[in-house]
Subunit: 540 residues, 2 copies
């Protein structure tokens, strides 16, 4: 397999053939436009500027100045990143890509960069969709991207406490491969699972497999090691503590601005043996939301609880329904869960929901395939179609970008009492912005996670674009919906992180005294101000 | 009812009569010694020094210089606090007690104190057992204790999202009284429930009702308002967010060093309708621990899961058993939970546990009394005896202190793989220290909370003391067990907080770079260094 330098995942997995034909057929129906294919440029044609810095001899072996390497580390994987790559627009490229082998290397690299004032961008899988790894750092003589991919091992497993000490650079599948012989799993499956790392999940407070309870990676952390320019911060392995403000919670979500996460003790699970799943159709969206809220407040704690609105159900699950489809899943390694599903379906029926014919939810002992991302086998055709679509989405997004179709997502969270207002404001803002820049477009919504006090809505936007204008078109839409989220009381991000792109709205959302505290903490830990400048805080 | 100035709770609820007789009879059996009763001194006899400061006219109405007020705010409610009160040893007394009526008053008081360099001690119920409210602040011209008791209202209830905006100074019972008409409850019941406040719980990361999942108050917080000398930090109401490091998590556990928490939006629950409880006896403690671990890792998530060791069972539940007693409880507002109890009992039986005869765990719909602290009605005689004892413990501790008996608790948390070592080290350290200072003594252990990756053990110490030496005796024991906890990898506190008394071990446990970050954050928020000096961080 070959990683794509310009787009998602592996070159060999790109959308093509019949899948591409079907995709474009659907696009033609929804939003006719110019569907010319624009092939990605070769790396050699990009004309990257020469690196502005050379690593000292002691670090030279860790550093690459290869154009392909530098190009592949210039952008994240947002729509606007992929489009800029396709157009050969790489304005900010790291001068070097450094690949430390261990914590000593991380420390030495940070020492060198701090001394020279060189910006350092910690890099995991590079799947940021918020400009989190893009070296827009104009105030520094050079930029080094620190790619942790060589630090990819599970170092210790404690089967008694069900925890493991894991290096930050490990990618999802390789992590699970190393845990599988122990009968354990981290069970953290963000959509980016295959191409993102533990360190990236921790630095960005990634959202994972569980729709309820353990929604963010935060809750799976027992302790962390973080190399800062001011020393190594190593917290103690604890199942819980009340000793002052949590050290880990300062580094969770710090997005590479306070230090480089090198390893963590993570809480693991037994692989699930019992499962029950179903999908439920609703004729009315408001009622579907009320049913989902009832389940979120029931204490049943489903592993999966995704409400797809009618547009999402149609486009990504091929289901035509008036209100929406609720995808439900329960799982356990210890006990049958079909009664939990039955109770959830009862709550749905109370709200007029219609469970799928095959959604009986009989327990299945030892069903295979339980460790896989999006692994919601069974549960009716709606579920299966949606899941397969879920895993192909990033690849399809790239194919659409090549054909000048705007296709991107954004997400938030809000309290239940504010959801209707936020949903309307965001949907209207998206439609209005799409009308302005593209004449038309479709906006979809699903819940990725739900809490007793509110949902995490995830929106999709699809609009016909114009080659050459795609980034400007998208930026206009993104600004409009971000404004709507911020003024409706939502968070600018539930699990995509802040990066550089969310800064204007994050700055308004964040309490000013906390900004001052965070800034002071950064100065204490990174006195030279070299760590990921411009992310979370203004560049120095 | 009259609050005791020197001891726990209300004067009228103090141990006396038959309860006192029975208590002393038990003490005589276990540890013979001089049981003379030492009555508390009158406040007038304490000879408090005159206040060193006068409030400006604009704030004078908020401030009290009454000796009884100042004496009642001089200490927390630890054993060493009560003993010092009984001995009339009040070395550090606040000069004034200020009672702000609203956020404006809090700001004005902070402004005045910052200007004059006067230390400010935020004060909720004053139930600290770690010196968290004791004005040992020698580097300041005066000390003002800010008692939030006037800010005690539930300001808004959002029934849809099940959340409420609540002022920080409200005590547990008054908080629940205000939520009851809405059919909702915070369901946070620390042992101090009756005499502690929401703001205190938040500032100290209090541990509450739930033995699993939502163990600390942290998880029940939707947003917070904190008045700092640098402005008001108001986070947004969100069910979840990934926008940078969590602002609330910086203030949770800040113990009054970063600002004064004035209100919070808290997540609420429906009052439980379904309950199932049991107690299980084990012949061997190691096996009892293994059974408890199996339940903690099962995903059954009991609301109550307290393993009492043999000494705890004997002393506080009147049960004679070789290994221990596991007290289990499940509850739900939505669905029956007897099957969860059945599965937990099955796990216990697999480990040789014997459920109590009446522990059938039939569901009871609408059983009354569900909102009460320690409200585990039914569940067998072991459970009932232990619960009644639980609520009387602080009063009994005071009675014992008056009779020169050392009686105190301390707590920690650790991973399961390290528990046996920690338990042995702590128990041996306690016994050795008791031998050294008291000749003999008893140490007990129970789990207050359990996690998939480890328990939170809570220890009790009972030893014969000598009037006049009690504080020194206890301090010797406390230092020994704290040393054992720290070197065994535990946390110096799971939910009692750090305060001033845990500082030496907290300082070793806390990662140095995090200490630097926290210190920088404090300087940014409290530039004059007046907020609770000496707590968490060295006094300036």
């Amino acid at each position: 397999m070959t990683r794509s330098w310009w787009g998602w995942g592996n070159v060999e997995d790109a959308v093509g053939g019949a899948e591409l034909g079907a995709l474009l057929d659907r696009v033609r129906v929804l939003m006719p436009g110019d569907l010319t294919d624009h092939e990605p440029p070769g790396v050699d044609s990009l004309g990257l500027p020469a690196p502005r810095v050379t690593a000292p001899a002691s670090l030279a072996a860790l550093c690459s100045a290869e154009p392909a390497d530098r190009a592949a580390h210039a952008h994240g994987k947002a729509f606007r990143d992929v489009v800029r790559n396709l157009q050969g627009d790489l304005r900010h490229v790291p001068d070097l890509v450094a690949r430390p082998r261990d914590e000593r290397d991380v420390t030495d690299l940070l020492d060198w960069c701090s001394r020279e004032g060189i910006a350092v961008i910690p890099f995991g899988g590079g799947s940021s969709v918020v400009g989190g790894v893009e070296p827009r750092c104009t105030g520094h003589p050079a930029v080094v991207t620190m790619d942790l991919e060589r630090m990819d091992r599970v170092l210790e497993v404690d089967g008694t406490s069900r925890a493991a000490r894991i290096q930050a650079g490990v990618f999802g599948p390789h992590l699970e491969d190393q845990l599988r012989p122990h009968g354990l799993t981290l069970r953290h499956f963000p959509q980016s699972f295959e191409f993102s790392t533990l360190g990236g999940w921790l630095a960005t407070r990634a959202g994972g497999h569980y729709a309820t309870l353990h929604t963010h990676i935060d809750d799976l952390v027992e302790s962390m090691r973080v190399v800062t320019p001011s020393g190594v911060s190593a917290s103690r392995r604890l199942p819980g503590s009340g000793a002052g403000p949590s050290p880990d919670r300062l580094f969770l979500g710090s997005e590479g601005t306070l230090g480089v996460i090198t390893e963590a003790w993570m809480r693991l699970q037994q692989r699930p043996r019992w499962r029950a799943r179903a999908s439920v159709r609703f004729g009315d969206y408001t009622v579907a939301v009320a049913a989902t809220r009832a389940i979120a407040q029931s204490g049943l704690n489903p592993a999966n609880c995704r409400l797809l609105d009618a547009a999402e159900a149609l486009i990504n699950a091929g289901v035509s329904v008036g209100g929406g489809v609720l995808v439900l899943g329960f799982e356990s390694a210890d006990h049958p869960v079909h009664r939990s599903l039955e109770r959830a379906l009862e709550l749905c029926r109370d709200h007029g929901g219609e469970p799928s014919p095959d959604a009986g939810g009989e327990p299945r002992d030892g069903e295979p395939g339980g460790g896989e991302p999006g692994g919601e086998e069974g549960g009716g055709p709606d579920v299966r179609t949606w899941r397969s679509s879920f895993l192909r989405m990033p690849y399809q997004r790239d194919a659409l970008a090549r054909h000048s179709v705007i296709a991107e997502t954004f997400e938030t969270a809000c309290t239940w009492d504010g959801f209707e207002t936020l949903h309307r404001a965001v949907t209207e803002a998206a439609r209005q912005a799409m009308r302005e820049v593209a004449g038309t477009g479709v906006v979809t919504c699903r819940f990725t996670h739900v809490y007793p006090d509110g949902p995490a809505p995830y929106f999709g936007v699809y609009a016909p674009g114009r080659w050459g204008d795609l980034v400007a078109q998208w930026d206009h839409i993104k600004a409009a919906v971000s404004e709507a989220i911020e003024t409706s009381g939502g968070t600018i991000t539930h699990h995509h992180a802040v990066g550089r792109d969310h800064r204007p709205w994050y700055d308004r959302q964040r309490p000013a005294p906390f900004a001052a505290a965070l800034s002071a903490a950064k100065t204490a830990l990174d006195p030279a101000g070299v760590l990921n400048p411009g992310v979370l805080l203004p560049a120095p």
